[in-house]
Symmetry: none
Subunit: 178 residues, 4 copies
DNA sequence: TATGAATGAGCGTTCATTCAT
DNA sequence: AATGAATGAACGCTCATTCAT
């Protein structure tokens, strides 16, 4: 049912009606209300669900061989995904949610990725979680809002990733000479 | 009245009702409809108005002494602004609008800023308009959606700007240079 | 101005807006309200005006050489007219109006036509004003409501007129006679 | 609910609001919209319902002993009814509807009555369906519009019916004879 | 005096939410 | 427990009417 709701919200946006969702889920509207007291609650549940999956994916990458590659791959995947999932966007946007109990610790999972990538020297050490989440949210938001195609996504993320990488000798060693 | 509408839309988002807008504007709903045939038209008018101001600001900066500084200042201003203006976001998102006559040529204005900054060596030559607009849209969207405070904005834009700057010797010339 | 209102109401029916009427009349809406306190009042005025013209026409025919022909011609003219004038219909329908002072005595005018036609033996003596007006109203209403073409109007009025004529020997004397 | 809608439309005419109808029906507006997608659809449903009843009644009379009496009785019944039912009027007016499937064949039913009455010599052979429907529509329209009382209805229909009957010897045989 | 901008009640319609079945 | 018919507040929009100019 969450699945169906996610599909419908992804397709029709936030204005999708409960009836539509119920229809796609193959249940009566009343059945949805048995589990979620309001439309807002259903929506929140979807967001939380989304976050869980995001956290899971981050967990999987936590032990990848190349932390830098893992980090950038993760970032890219999320943005890629948000092109088609209208709801995900808010998963990252709604940072406040994670205070609630039971919410998967997506921030923790992402932070692990970040720290490892920083320790590997793939990400500048002075980048904090806050701005990282901000960048993720920003690119997701824009990707779905403006319907980025693959080329645009690649080029735009390219700029962001460059901004995240350490600059100078480290990155372009030979270039800077001495 | 446009002003009031902008305020309300900024506060309540696109779902703000015409009654609400009328109330804030201190007029009857009919008065709004006298000037804008539909809610959509009102919305478009706000966007266009916003674009005009954006284009004007870009024009002012077009002949600034330091093109790089001008460019980054402009970028920052816009994002700063969008924290409070929910609508601006779509001004950039809706690139298609500029085909219509009478619409201020915001893209042209921004492009001028970009080109000058690139010629001055402050921005990488391989950055195109498309990804620049994407980055602008993304940061605006996120800034208003997530209510960035000044610190977060500075740090996040810092990353993006670093990604836009030429890297290596070019960027830190004095440092690496002879 | 009454003229303009009549034209518009004839074209668009009772739902025509005051703005539309004012526009066609070439005045502001306020000017109409100066003369007629409400839309209803304007409408009533049109009806009364219409009645006056009807009464005038009846007056002209009052002294025609052939009373029977005059009567049927008058009936036909009115019905014919109502095909195109949505408002006329109510002139006849609203019998109650004629109590008011200043209303043209259309009933009197029509009655004169009827009486003369009856005296000439062209209309049955037992036909009263009430049913005559009812028939007029009925055919006008239907003519405009259903958009009678000329053929249908002729055939339908033919039946009604036959019903109004004296029957038996009087009408088809030669036929039934020896 | 159809009943309630019919009552309200009969009372207030086509401008009756959905709220009013809902109130009289004792339901919420939404309930009406559940069954009829638009006001227009509700209206059509009433008309069709009305037509069905009309057709049924005509069917019942189709085999009456006295075709002439049956015909005139039917005509009278309909007009009588329309005094109180503002909507019926359009059932007859909207002849075009009967093309749609599922619409009761009221025209066919009436035609059967007419033909039988003509074969019985009670109605003139040269009266066609078109003018018969025109007369029906006209008298219904006027009966409800002007609120005919029984006396007026009788006298007015008397004229129309005389117009429909064969004239001369046939009708008043004994009289003209001698 | 004439104007038309402004008003806001009211309309048709939608949809989150409730509750009898 | 599950359903979906019923509800009615709220929406976008229109237009008769008012009144400052």
């Amino acid at each position: 049912m969450l699945e169906a709701a996610e599909v419908v919200l992804a397709r029709d946006g936030l204005d999708a009606s409960m009836r539509e969702i119920a229809e796609v889920a193959g249940v009566g509207v009343g059945t949805i209300y048995r589990q979620f007291p309001t439309k807002e609650a259903l929506y929140q549940a979807i967001v939380v669900d989304r976050m869980r999956r995001l956290a899971d994916r981050a967990g999987e990458l936590a032990s990848a061989a190349d932390p830098g590659a893992a980090f950038f791959a993760y970032f890219t995947t999320i943005v890629e995904d948000s092109t088609v999932k209208k709801v995900l966007v808010d998963a990252l946007a709604t940072a406040g949610i994670d205070a609630k109990a039971g919410t998967p610790d997506i921030k923790g999972a992402i932070e692990a990725l970040l720290v490892r990538a920083q320790e590997a020297g793939a990400i500048r050490a002075d980048v904090g979680m806050e701005e990282l989440l901000a960048l993720l949210s920003a690119t997701c938001l824009a990707a779905q809002h403006n319907n980025w195609d693959e080329g645009l996504r690649t080029r735009t993320l390219g700029v962001v990733f460059d901004g995240l990488r350490p600059s100078g000798p480290v990155r372009r060693t030979g270039a800077s000479g001495a």
